[in-house]
Symmetry: C2
């Protein structure tokens, strides 16, 4: 075991970053391949990934199942799991879930900040919960072995997703709001429901989700993990979902926030004064820094087994249980 897995990244992918994944000993990264893209646009993104797999076969392989992560680890490569941060790539067509499953997508958010066809996002004022189509999509995702991700969803929608789903769900990248009260961070109610249902929480290192933002220390971050473990009962539901957007220009965070849905500018967690990506903490600037997390957790008192679980073994177990088909 002792897998190292990052539960979410959206980098400006390049050979440099793929090499840094090996330096950081990452066996697997769940990468976002779509935010606001429709079906055909997301296929274009997949074509880019196919080209990267073709050109960098010694660094990355596509993971369809947890076993591919084992293969990647054995050969010193990084397994890439595809995910969507919004359901835009399935449009209004539930049959596209199976198509995306065939193409290797394994994790999908039901919402991204806004109301979607499926559920309510964490920026809406009214939280109407899981929609009619949302329930159908949850059932089909359960059948196929696709992970429901509620990182950007609202409170009721998240609790309902945990309830309706017959399989554990994930919050791939968020922190508890007892530590830092951001719209994207999660309540104790959600954390407890997630833990008791066998779900997973990936701790985010995106500065807007951190206490003291870019100045958050590794020690503060790791102590927050320890406190969250106390609230959730143990460490079995905990992982990392760094939300690392390495090498992305600021135009990308503007696009993440605004997509095509608004004519005025939405600054999300930023502001008109600070509209771009916030500066990463100095202990997590790129993929090589994944190794710092091990040091931080050790200094906070976690055992090696606990460190291994949090840095990847928990995600591995969850992916192994989640990606198989329910017939």
């Amino acid at each position: 075991m002792a897998y190292k897995i990052d539960g979410l990244q959206y980098a400006n992918w390049s050979e440099k970053i793929f090499s840094q994944m090996q330096e950081g000993r990452l066996d697997c990264v769940h990468v976002t391949i779509a935010y606001h893209e429709n079906f055909r646009e997301t296929v274009l993104n997949l074509e880019k990934w196919n080209s990267w797999f073709e050109h960098f076969p010694d660094q990355i392989i596509q993971a369809h199942y947890a076993e591919d992560i084992t293969l990647a680890k054995a050969s010193g490569k990084t397994a890439i799991i595809f995910g969507f941060q919004t359901p835009a790539p399935i449009e209004d067509d539930i049959g596209l879930l199976k198509i995306w499953h065939q193409l290797g997508m394994r994790i999908m958010q039901l919402t991204y900040n806004n109301q979607s066809l499926l559920a309510t996002g964490c920026y809406e004022t009214q939280d109407s919960g899981i929609t009619r189509m949302g329930r159908e999509v949850i059932t089909e995702m359960n059948r196929l072995g696709l992970v429901i991700d509620m990182s950007h969803s609202s409170q009721q929608s998240t609790l309902q997703a945990i309830d309706y789903s017959s399989r554990p769900i994930a919050i791939t990248h968020a922190n508890p709001n007892f530590w830092h009260d951001a719209k994207r961070n999660k309540s104790e109610t959600i954390l407890k429901a997630l833990a008791s249902s066998g779900g997973m929480l990936g701790f985010s290192i995106y500065p807007h989700h951190l206490k003291d933002g870019s100045n958050c220390s590794l020690r503060q971050f790791c102590e927050m993990i320890a406190k969250t473990a106390d609230i959730m009962g143990d460490i079995s539901a905990l992982g990392i979902g760094s939300d690392l957007c390495q090498d992305q220009p600021d135009s990308i965070v503007t696009w993440m926030r605004n997509g095509r849905w608004t004519k005025t500018t939405d600054y999300g967690e930023g502001s008109a004064e600070l509209p771009g990506f916030p500066k990463q903490p100095n202990w997590f600037k790129d993929n090589t820094d994944f190794l710092n997390l091990e040091t931080g957790l050790r200094n906070t008192g976690f055992s090696q087994t606990e460190i291994d679980a949090i840095l990847g073994d928990n995600w591995f177990r969850f992916f192994k249980d989640s990606f198989g088909q329910n017939s």
Copy 2:
């Protein structure tokens, strides 16, 4: 061995037809999933197939590789191989070939009667051969393990495809024109080039490709196979590609011929007087009649080994050699 494989069908699929495949002992059918459909429309067709696989798991399975045909045979099911009769589903985007490979498509015609972005169809007056994009597509199909099908292509385009392709190609459904001189049937030059390059010819039982049309006898058809074997050297390149369009309404053949490319009506091999599907010969009306071919070939003097080769073992060998990736 003794596989039974049909090299092309485009039926109005139903539980009845899937059951008849079992009655006819078909271990594998290459089915057309697109004519004029663009990428997104073809994905909708694939969604229908996914639904059939979900609802009829005891009758059909999707074949990605020849080994899946072996699995199907062992369990009394029929393996379904996906193919396109035009390159419309890749639009102008070569990256879609890999996407379609991921989705299980394995055989694609470069043209369908008309000029395409890739090659010239057999109904054009000028045969300009393989285009610039056509050469690129052939190279990528060779790399991925996708079979180039020239059934509806013109003479020069077909010969050039055989020449440019580093792997053997197929004419999945056509007959020799020495026997019946139709635009869709093939010259001895093509047949010999196909044989010497390791390609495959699937004999069509679509009446417009048969001598005496709907009245063609099983004996005539099997004697034509024997003569073709003489011309091509032996029987190793021969298979069946029945072109069976079981249970399709006449509107479908009109659509096959006209797609969206013309405002006047093209009757193709039909006529204003006989615009619909021609009547099938009485010895090949549906999938259960595949067994009649065995009787016909035996009565024409073929040995059991030769019969097995023509009715499926040759296609199996060809698929086994063709579907693997060339890296």
